[in-house]
Amino acid sequence: MIATALANVFNPICLVLIWFGTVLGIIFGSVPGLSATMAVVLFLPLTFNMEPTQGIALLIGLYMGGISGGLISAILLKIPGTPSSISTVFDGGPMAEKGEAGRALGVGILYSFIGSVIGIVALAFVSPLLAKVCLLFGAADYFAVAVFSLTIIAALSGKDMLNGLIAGLIGLALSMIGMAPIDAQVRYTFGNYQLMAGLDITVLLIGVFAVTDIIMAGFGRKTLADKFAKKKYHLKGYGVSMKEFIQQIPNAIISSLIGIGIGILPGIGGSTAGLMAYTAEKSRSKYPEKFGTGIIDGVIASETANNACIGGSLVPLLCMGIPGNTVAAVFLGGLLVHGINPGPLIFDKSGEYVYGIYFALIVASVFMLIFERLGLPIFAKLLDIPKHILLPIIMVMCCVGAYSSASRVFDVQCVLFFALLGLFFKIFKIPSTPLIIGFILGSMFEENLRQALQASHGSWTIFVTRPISLIFLVVAVIFCTVTVRGNLKEKKAAQAKGEDFDTSEEEG
């Protein structure tokens, strides 16, 4: 299996696809308004006709490049290209103001690579062990895992848990459209035969994540042309000496571990990982007062953690089919499209593809290290592309992507429906991530619930008598309680200051 995976990844076509994906991902990550999620969503339909390893390799390149590319605008414009790079701005921005933009960029790229590699190593070691544990799971346990994931995601996707839950439930409801599992009963098709096969995940993703943003640009067209002051940079090598590199080893290791841990937990993404690693490094540091004034420690903590998060987020995705964050949810859609069903048996049934994913991740990391550094002048220049030209082009590509998923115009029209749903969510401050996760987990949720209830002759006690199921449900309840209490505290604090309590947070 390993030899086949190596041969599949290290062939010229696959390597070119990874390179292409990584470079495009960096562009999408670096331009504010575009995101890693948008990149993966947009190119997912193009992979349909590809051999699975090649298709997945392209998506991996986009994922890896997209997360890392955010640091370019975070440092040069002081605007994070992706939410993952929010904490990179804290020290990357001041470094640029001090004339050290090049050094910040070099350090960011180098430690993005280091974080990615540590994350991939963790993925390779942890996922087979977790898969073995998951073999003990029955239908009731999988149902509990789905409930656990939904509650965590709902709680963490926004500060208002009710809005998160609404989004997750709407996602579950959308997954009910079409033929039901077990008995193939047709539901909620409203007499439209095109809905019998259910809604396409690609169409949902394109609508909610890409087209909604273009509509929002229409609402904000008066500020679309606003230019931000871009800093100039000079860089030799990666901007870090051997002495500094050795000094920063503990920072890189701790930040990577934080990134991996955050990535494994469902619902939390690179932005939280970066912020937590930044805070941890600041409190561990001998000079915490210098954080925020422009030191490499902050950039290293943020970039190492958000890239390590990639490997971490793939652990539950491969072993249980649970995406760790929004981009991982899109990536899961890509795996399913190519007939790779994540779960504990993935190593037996699709081993060559799993190892292919590991190798593709390593290759994408190396390409990111080399080409993000070499292409910096071009990527910096691309920040100037006018949005009023770029966004309509993306819209056309979205329609092409939706059409090519099943060669039917109905999917193109569904894109607009989901874009309007995304707009409704934005207006009413409902986070979109739980919608996608709910949609993806819908079939797992229903199939396992019905199987478990069939086995228990309709008794719900099966979910509390099986230890694994009970543990997940108890943890879900504890987590909900803790989150609600935390949110109420934050809400009260915000109210005391007379501030609005913003409930929408997105990852990607």
């Binding site: 193009l46 006709n49 009710l162 809005n163 839950l165 609404i166 439930l169 709407i170 409801a173 009910m176 077990i182 008995d183 009963q185 539901r187 909620y188 273009i214 509509i215 929002m216 640009a217 229409g218 609402f219 904000g220 067209r221 008066k222 500020t223 679309l224 042309a225 006018p386 949005k387 009023h388 030209i389 966004l391 309509p392 819209m395 056309v396 329609c399 059409y403 090519s404 060669s407 115009v409 193109v412 029209q413 894109v415 607009l416 309007l420 207006i427 009413f428 401050k429 949720f445 619930l449 019905r450 209830l453 069939q454 309709g458 809400k491 915000a494 109210q495 007379g498 609005d500 309590f501």
Partner: protein, 156 residues
């Protein structure tokens, strides 16, 4: 619109969705005797939506939060937003009838004009991009990916 109105509208819309889903779920027949049926989970989800939306409605009504009556920041330029949605709708409606190339040329040009302002509006550049991009994408799909896009009434 205030935060309170926003949350009330959201709760009511979700309540209507939940009730609608619940009513429709009751009509889903049960095919297998030992199974709970295909209407069971939709009913469960509909009840959850009703409970969560109801809780949001009640919490909004009894809220003493001083920011609840604060105005929600305006969405922006309504003309730009609604025109973008209508333009997308028109594009998707003519996508198959007129074909990918022509519908995309029209959409791209009009959308670029709509999003640009008097300072950065360059109709000639927009026209070149609007014509070149769909032709290139169509050729890519027809010859490289072997998945032709809709050709429309005029055969291209």
């Amino acid at each position: 619109m205030t935060n309170k109105v926003r949350d009330l509208v959201c709760s009511i819309v979700m309540l209507v969705v939940g009730v609608g889903m619940f009513v429709m779920a009751r009509d889903i027949p049960r095919k297998i005797e030992s199974d709970v049926g295909s209407g069971y989970v939709p009913t469960f989800i509909a009840i959850c939506i009703i409970i969560v939306a109801g809780a949001k409605l009640i919490l909004t009504l009894i809220s003493k939060d001083p920011t609840i009556n604060k105005k929600v920041p305006p969405l922006g330029d309504w003309f730009g937003g609604i025109a973008t949605v209508l333009l997308m709708l028109a594009y998707m409606m003519i996508f198959e009838k007129v074909g990918f190339i022509i519908s995309s040329i029209v959409y791209l040009f009009v959308q670029m004009m709509l999003l640009s302002n008097s300072e950065n509006r360059k109709p000639v550049l927009f026209a070149i991009i609007a014509v070149a991009l769909p032709i290139a994408v169509d050729a890519l799909f027809a010859f490289a990916i072997k998945m032709p896009l809709p050709v429309g009434l005029w055969g291209f």
